[in-house]
Amino acid sequence: MKRFQLSRRAVLRGTGGVSLALPFLEIMGRPGRASAATAPKRIVFWYTTCGTVMQTWRPAAAGKNFEIKAILKPFDTPELRPHLTLVSGVSMEAAKKSGGNGHAAGMTAMMTCRSYKERKPTEFGDVGWGGGISIDQELKSHIKGTPLSSLELGIQTQGQYKNFYSYMSYGKDGGSANAVPADDDPVSTYKRVFSSLPAGATRVEIERIIKRRTSVLDFVGEDYKTLSARLGSRDRMLLERHANLIRELENGLVTLNTACEKPAQPGALARDALYRDANMPAIGKSQMDILAAAFACDQTRVATLQWTEAQAGQVYSSFINTDWTKQGDEIYHHGISHAAVSAAGTTFGDNPKSTAVQLDANDKLTLINNWYAQQLAYFANKLRNTPDVDGKSVLDNTAIVWVTEISEGPNHSFNNMPYVIVGGLGGALKTGEFFDYGNKRAHNDLFITLGQAMGIPNFTTFGDPAFVKGPLDTLLA
């Protein structure tokens, strides 16, 4: 005799008189409609590798009318400047504690504010994995009610190393087992955010498609439950994790905002094309468009956008037009970052200090970071031109936080990390100012500040407590 089972899906759909507040389903999809509604806050961590060129990034003095130098020139417009905030003088103390290979220590501490887990010696210095949960995964755990709890978008993050250099996000407890990969394929990202709904499908058709897919996931979920009970503990835990992810996928499908205005479906790229340097701009644009739409429709409120892996071998010559020959064979990102000269005048290893190669490397690196700033400006403008439910723009209610794993290439420094924040989280953060904390604050504190600005109650600590002092008060509005 079969037991009546109310499927998860039915409950979420609100049958049987149970109603669930689905976020912004009716309100979204009608741009320009001003209302007294409160807009959700969104945050995205934007990653590039190998630090910056301090000489062309850092303004001379802190304050409101700070100088925008060469790298951040794309933000030197009346529209974007008010949204631009720079933070310097914050250090990654947890990375210093890890020691060993600079890029590994930096990458694994960058979002976790903890030192290595699974430390291992190698010919390039000690390496390891993130020591705990990353800030994006932490923030998302406090935010309910969106179809996707977070989005991790990547551009060529899983092509080269496929190890701790490749991951910026970590689930609870960190370590290699909890590293969260970014999705490098815009086609795959698109499907996650908008589901594989055919263009021009009617409301009824869409409902039916989702119903069929969730029906399969419901059925399959039972399979995992039954099987895992028969296995030993290691395999049981593995299948339970898998089953949880299936459940999350199903929940996302059920609560999907199907009225969302979608960007054009990105063209499919074969795997080797997906990892070709020349395709970076197009892939990046697809990912940015998808993320912008995901924020606009409140499909998610927490994201990472990761450009390449740490110490990547990216070659930009096919789309950054300049004379690359002065760098000889070393025209890849990591190599150039080591050929450069730091603000304090140091060079890497026994590189000479002031040859043409060194000076040119700084120029190249400035161009590279300027290119990334252009992408950031594109994304910021997209959000700026999207009306939000409170009559402001989506950008007003967002923070895009530019992170990197070292501050300068020549010395793998973890001081003066070059944070750029675009957007003010609905007025919770000050904007349009350059803040300098004199390397007396750890980046734990910056993330605590962001958590509080996101409106998470009691967010008073993050990462290794040894480095926590509290929020950066002057950054909060």
Binding site: G99, L231, G349
Partner: protein, 561 residues
């Protein structure tokens, strides 16, 4: 094209005060043991009388962590199951490579992205499959009736997709699901839902194993016929069992070593038997990186692909067509070339297709002089004796050198018109502590190959026209001694028992998805004895590996009580 994995201008510098290969270093390739007898167990192969007796009395199969289909296996499987050649898993989140292979059980990491990708792939595969409904069903629903046909389909397709005969309960579950879907959709749509669900089942994506009733000792269980069939097919073909294997499973002929051997032989010698050989050596040699390194402009993507195919064809030929011996692999004066490759290597000739060619027996030493490996272990425009020496020690001997100390200056000396590259490297790494101890072992085997440039081509002299000195001394291994060039070195390596044991270790890891442990001592001793007796015949090793107790039994702790 991306640049080389290692910083182009950095050497690998090793600092150590002890000797290479002793325990204590836990490099990527496992325990770093130098004696080759497993992790610290000691004792000569064959063991004492008591140990042999103990091995006969008990069955200790070691752990069998559940395996998940790798992307490569997934693609092969859906091609066999559905005739679908779209290879959807190509763009799945990659596995985490452990101990050199992507099919390590611990490398099957999970993420929301992956689950979403799997669901999407299953959805597409199912929707494509039902466009040819009658072929898929293999049953005339008009004549037989929809439900009976669906029922038959679930049993028949399920046996192949889920790689076991469905129980009555399982069949009923799928039938109810089908009926429910049929009530709100067409016949094709309902079947599509069933296929979609099966492709997401843990029995499809994973290879769960329970074994048959426990032995008297209650410590181990024999694998069932279907579980054995899956182990065999994934070991040799990287895909699901074919009908012959499935039938053998049903007929219970896979419960004896003889029955297993017969199938293993069939799979290995079948044309599809090349799949795992090539997959293994591709990963062992890191050949997929060829497509993303930077060398001279002449090294086009086409050449990179051809160098990879050259090596794949070569290893497959030696193992399955030639005498199968590791020593032959290391010394054969042959390779596989077509016209493009031959022209590239400076010996024009050949046709469009890759074919076996005899090469200069004074210059060619099998796998060791394969262009692919010489190219990978080099820098743009320069050879890298350090990388080549390290590769030999690590992957051919399983004796990974310990890492260098932090903060050493690892820049490659810029080429000098008046000084040979060898002298520069020796000056930098072999005259100063803490480098000289390890580099005295690493560098010489690397220098031996210096006549092969950064793209695997022969050169008589360096770019600066200075002569090349390839002489040296091999140390830290079981076949230490002086050599004049890479040919002498190849002959030394071909005699090494340590190297043969390394071959066993690597194939064990590939087959079992984990490292061998102390509990595997009996298995490893058995394999070692047989490998020595066959003079290092890899073909025989693979067949023997499929007949070990570690392969045929499951520790009872793997299953819930």
């Amino acid at each position: 094209m991306k640049s080389t994995r290692t910083l182009a201008f950095s050497l690998l510098l090793f600092g150590c005060s002890g000797s290479i290969g002793t325990t204590g270093s836990t490099g990527e390739n496992g325990g770093g043991n130098g004696t080759g007898t497993g992790n610290g167990k000691g004792g000569a192969p064959g063991g004492t009388g008591t140990m042999q007796a103990a091995c006969k009395d008990t069955i200790t199969p070691g752990p069998s962590p559940m395996r998940r289909l790798t992307r490569w296996e997934y693609n092969n499987t859906v091609a066999d199951l559905l005739g679908d050649a779209t290879r959807p898993a190509e763009k799945f989140v990659p596995e985490a490579v452990q101990l050199g292979f992507d099919n390590n059980a611990d490398g099957a990491t999970l993420s929301a992205v992956l689950i979403s990708q799997q669901e999407d792939a299953a959805s597409q595969l199912a929707s494509t499959a039902v466009t040819k409904l009658s072929t898929l069903l293999g049953c005339d629903s008009a004549a037989k009736g929809e439900l009976p046909c669906a029922s038959e389909f679930i049993a028949r397709f399920g046996r192949r997709a889920l790689r076991h005969t469905l129980s009555a309960t399982e069949r009923e579950r799928y039938e109810s699901f089908y009926t429910k879907e049929r009530a709100t959709g067409t016949y094709a749509e309902a079947i599509e839902q069933v296929v979609h669900a099966m492709l997401l089942s843990p029995y499809f994506l994973y290879r769960p194993e329970f074994g048959t009733s426990p032995l008297d000792t209650k410590a181990a269980r024999k694998l069932t016929g279907h579980e054995m069939a899956s182990r065999l097919s994934y070991m040799f073909w990287g895909s699901m069992p074919d009908d012959i294997l499935l039938d053998a499973a049903d007929a219970d002929t896979l419960s004896t070593p003889e029955g297993i051997k017969a199938q293993a032989e069939r799979l290995l010698m079948h044309p599809r038997g090349q799949a795992s050989i090539k997959n293994f050596f591709g990963q062992w040699g890191g050949l997929s990186q060829l497509s993303s390194i930077t060398r001279d402009k002449i090294f086009t993507p086409q050449l990179a692909a051809l160098q990879m195919q050259e090596t794949e064809a070569f290893v497959d030929e030696i193992i399955r067509k030639d005498d199968g011996r590791w020593s032959t692999m290391l010394t054969a004066p042959a390779s596989f070339r077509n016209d493009v490759l031959s022209a590239f290597y400076g010996q024009p000739g050949g046709s469009k297709e890759l074919a076996r060619v005899a090469l200069d027996p004074k210059r060619t030493s099998g796998l060791l002089t394969q262009g692919s490996l010489l190219t990978l272990h080099a820098h743009p425009g320069q050879t890298s004796p350090v990388l080549r020496g390290k590769f030999l020690l690590e992957r051919v001997f399983c004796l990974p050198p310990p890492p260098p100390p932090n903060d050493v200056d690892a820049t490659v000396p810029a080429p000098d018109p008046n000084v040979s590259a060898r002298k520069q490297l020796e000056q930098k790494t072999q005259t100063v502590a803490p480098c000289m101890g390890c580099h005295a072992v690493i560098n010489p085997p690397g220098f031996a190959f210096d006549h092969f440039d950064s793209m695997g081509r022969w050169r008589d002299v360096e770019d600066n026209k200075l002569p090349i000195d390839t002489s040296g001394e091999l140390s830290g291994t079981d076949v230490d001694g002086p050599f004049g060039d890479h040919m002498d070195l190849g002959k030394l390596v071909a005699q090494s028992q340590t190297s043969r044991e390394c071959v066993i270790t690597e194939w064990f890891r590939y087959t079992h998805g984990r490292d061998h442990l102390e509990v595997d001592t009996c298995t490893m001793d058995e394999l070692r004895t047989k490998f020595e007796a066959s003079k290092g015949n890899i073909r025989q090793l693979l067949l023997d590996m499929a007949q070990t107790e570690a392969f045929r039994y499951l520790a009872s702790s793997e299953v819930a009580p």
